[in-house]
Symmetry: D2
Subunit: 343 residues, 4 copies
Amino acid sequence: MIRVGIVGGTGYTGVELLRLLATHDGVEVVAVTSRNAAGRRVDAEFPNLRGVCDLEFVAPDAAGLERCDAVFFATPNGTAMHQVPALLDAGVRVVDVSADFRLRDAALWARWYGQEHACPERLAEAVYGLPEVNRAALRGARLVGNPGCYPTAIQLGFLPLVEAGAVDTGRLVASAVSGASGAGRKERVDLILAEQADNTRAYAAGGHRHLPEIRQGLEAAAGGPVDLAFVPHLVPQVRGIHATLFAELTRDIDVQAAFEARYRDEPFVDVMPPGSHPQTRSVRGANICRIAVHRPDPQGRRVVVLAVIDNLVKGAAGQAVQNLNVLCGMEETRGLNAVALLP
Amino acid sequence: MIRVGIVGGTGYTGVELLRLLATHDGVEVVAVTSRNAAGRRVDAEFPNLRGVCDLEFVAPDAAGLERCDAVFFATPNGTAMHQVPALLDAGVRVVDVSADFRLRDAALWARWYGQEHACPERLAEAVYGLPEVNRAALRGARLVGNPGCYPTAIQLGFLPLVEAGAVDTGRLVASAVSGASGAGRKERVDLILAEQADNTRAYAAGGHRHLPEIRQGLEAAAGGPVDLAFVPHLVPQVRGIHATLFAELTRDIDVQAAFEARYRDEPFVDVMPPGSHPQTRSVRGANICRIAVHRPDPQGRRVVVLAVIDNLVKGAAGQAVQNLNVLCGMEETRGLNAVALLP
Amino acid sequence: MIRVGIVGGTGYTGVELLRLLATHDGVEVVAVTSRNAAGRRVDAEFPNLRGVCDLEFVAPDAAGLERCDAVFFATPNGTAMHQVPALLDAGVRVVDVSADFRLRDAALWARWYGQEHACPERLAEAVYGLPEVNRAALRGARLVGNPGCYPTAIQLGFLPLVEAGAVDTGRLVASAVSGASGAGRKERVDLILAEQADNTRAYAAGGHRHLPEIRQGLEAAAGGPVDLAFVPHLVPQVRGIHATLFAELTRDIDVQAAFEARYRDEPFVDVMPPGSHPQTRSVRGANICRIAVHRPDPQGRRVVVLAVIDNLVKGAAGQAVQNLNVLCGMEETRGLNAVALLP
Amino acid sequence: MIRVGIVGGTGYTGVELLRLLATHDGVEVVAVTSRNAAGRRVDAEFPNLRGVCDLEFVAPDAAGLERCDAVFFATPNGTAMHQVPALLDAGVRVVDVSADFRLRDAALWARWYGQEHACPERLAEAVYGLPEVNRAALRGARLVGNPGCYPTAIQLGFLPLVEAGAVDTGRLVASAVSGASGAGRKERVDLILAEQADNTRAYAAGGHRHLPEIRQGLEAAAGGPVDLAFVPHLVPQVRGIHATLFAELTRDIDVQAAFEARYRDEPFVDVMPPGSHPQTRSVRGANICRIAVHRPDPQGRRVVVLAVIDNLVKGAAGQAVQNLNVLCGMEETRGLNAVALLP
């Protein structure tokens, strides 16, 4: 039984980790930290956990995290990097679901996140936790930078084309929408239901923090520079990311076959039949990315990829559990077999 | 391994049964019937089941239902009653999730459902599938009338008061709201999102079919006549029933203690702490009823009960699985331990 | 042209007043105040007003409110009572859309609002702004306490029965739901879309501040004490209140005729045909209350009233404009003829 | 007073025309037709019109449309083309809100709409009703093909760039989302709230009927061929289109200034300040298109345009009224000054 701790348990990644781990028979959650909620029962904050989770939130210092086998960071960006080195030194494995260990370039990180990185020397050790790309490196790794939600959907959608060298990597376009849980559990007026229901809006059209992360992954796959336009949007739903990806083929390939081949053995990527339009609800609560590929003009150079994930599962907590499974040598799918909630 | 069939698999009860049974290790679904969708893959209709369910819909006659150990009816009202007798005679256990076997009085059924009952002689054998009331009778039963969604929430909410003889049973009031999945997966203009989003409306304020079912249950508990006003409403959400119940105490009791005592050993009823307001999302996808009790004026006679369920789980498919477990002597909670999806 | 000021312009009542008054040809808005947003353009906060409203928010002290003909208070409870006396003394008419001048009893107000009333001597002068009850008193009044949203729907729904002395006023029950805009434009985690979408919950089941206000109005109509159980709920929609009211007839009357007679000449109350179920979307954005009456058992004593309003219009800003029209001797319907937005 | 008829009054364009025309003081609606609802009161179908519209639906043949000054077609595609010639011959002006008169090329129309065009000889006379492009031609026109919803937002978003010859017209990308009212008021299972709430999905990714319409407009503006990738999506809201447009500049221009100059005198196009993200709710119920322009890399060639409209107003009924105003020599903004409903 792996003993895990969760740092920052009052956000959506935290409660989703608790939900998933409640039915994971190889893991025991021994501590959930929160500065503000310390002393409060976890199920008072999250009533879905009544009868399932008997823990109280504890202050980070009192949590005994260094005695865990593994720790998830479900904290705001810029927190994990201060605490991770000591835990690693204590022999604890870390899966950071925040952005602190996703970028390899500390200067790039500092530019996008508005602060210096606290432990740039650890970035080289961190493995980017997209198992579909880095599974081998993840086995036995000690520190994982768990991918962002948009980066998961967009990279999985572009990878088969980019790895095949079949598209113009200077002309990629990604338009993606997210449910409001992607913005976190925050006291923000612009997120209240009366502002955001019956409403769609783009945000960060001038540049979103997930852009360098996506570019880093696609450039590794391409073996060269990638130029990507990326616009995220908020839509009035709770969960779900829908990424609509546009590329131009540089040679004629069977795109459907390329996707099917690329993901044939992947337990958490589902390439749908030709002509499909994946729905975000088809992955609600499940650790899976569903993808469909279209060529509007079969003779043309345009290819359109549609990719959906649940931002809190394959885009955050589920992928973190998947990474933990790989890290610790458990079956990769363990605890992750729940079926999406539809309707 | 119990081999089960599902009759009428293209509705929400059908897909929910498939979702729940996919992770139930004591049950194998061997047939899913549908007249209209026969020959079509189940996961083409319900993409959340891709990778989980390999079945095709079959025509009811070709399904070999008589060779199943148990059959769920997830059909419109008035269908099961024509097929159930033959299955019972073939030794198949039946859990009817439609309304055909809920009322004991065939004449009452005919009046509310607008047709004669096809097998009134079987009604006496049918056990009303509310395990919190009828657990003993359910063990070994052959035919279960699975309760309606509103009746489940409203009966569980009133029962501790009525059984204790502590309220005026001539003055019960139930105002309840339901998510739109409760209206079924139907081609109805009034159910489309553009009509029903950002909208609340009552319906059947003059009399809803669930009223005689609720009354039958409460009268059995009261040992006498019950007068109940019941108004259901549709609210713009997918899942969830919230029942708000009003009663007048006839003697002063500790209502919180009464509820806690009544449901202490029930795995699927959660009496929340005093002052609580249960949220429908706290039971989304989970087989549980959460209840809170209030006395607005501690010296007054008024008592208010708030009860929430997921209409598709504890209000339909989940309760049906719970009943199957009891019927077949399996652990009652088997396959039903998923945590509610929050957010 | 009536020159009006709006105090507290950054909330939903404020923006709704600006929307309604933008097409009211008898009123000019000359000042909108906000402590926090002073100096900011109004249409930067509310983009629907781009091209329509050229004002900036000003600090309250700099607004010159004493030179307005009339001032709306769209402030949190407990603010208007400090500023209203000086404005009245300056000859300004005041419509307070907050709760400060709704209750006639200062002690009762203090108990429910958790603070002493700052100008109890003005309460006697304040006219409760439900024109369907107090139209005569409103003509020429100087200070109006604009009704709360629930109280508007619930009083309009009960009044014909209570005024006729036809129901047991000791046994009234009101279960009502509200869209999230009723909770205001606030930085509250429990109001964000990811918490409140696909979710229904009751709140304040132990006692809501609108209860004494409703009781005051109904007791005036009844000429005696009224006992009312009232439970409010939040449902996942932006606008709309749906009140479901239960009463017991003490004598047999034609309830449909009673409602039609009571509201025959009311421009903003619509009694629907027998058997109707009013929908909140049918009043979205419009200053109207639609009502339907049901007797589930035509021989029984139960009567059910369904009443819907837009909480921001007939439940707040629209009714405030209606009151201003009456106060200032304008046509009561002026500026209020927009049709509800459906779908 | 212009006397108008509405053909096909039971859909969303029909009810929206009725809503808008109810407060248009230059127009009187004298007939609303419906085959299925003939004899039924219009306000029984659309309760928001109670007290505002006293008409009954009439059968098309009995409507006396030839005696109207103007007729709106709010019919499914393929209906208007059969009835328009006779009305034109009778001297009636026609605004067709369906797709029958949008494309100039009958063969192209037949290919995308799956049937032969019934009056190809009238296509040359039809004016494409985008006043921002064709105002002069609309003055005094007899037949208007009212633009589609996506085409309105996408053309208005691309036009300043394309007209300026500043972008690569072979590389345009449009990703757009629509509220569910854009799919019409139809008995379709896939549109019911339980299927479409909390859900985003693309559709027609292989080619949507609005593509040739958009291309026709942009090619006229470009004076040459245009290649556009266009993917529409359904999001869980009632109203609103959000178009996210990607282009590559072929020369360095001040895009903000170009947009402001292009639309300076347009009453119904709002170019927002640099850095803005228009929200669909900011145009809810209003006849306006709000646009923002971004260059993610100020030195790069990428330009991103965000454009929002209410699909039922500027994308359908509102633009139809705007066209009628122009056609009949009324003030273009008459009856269209309502402020968007926010929240």
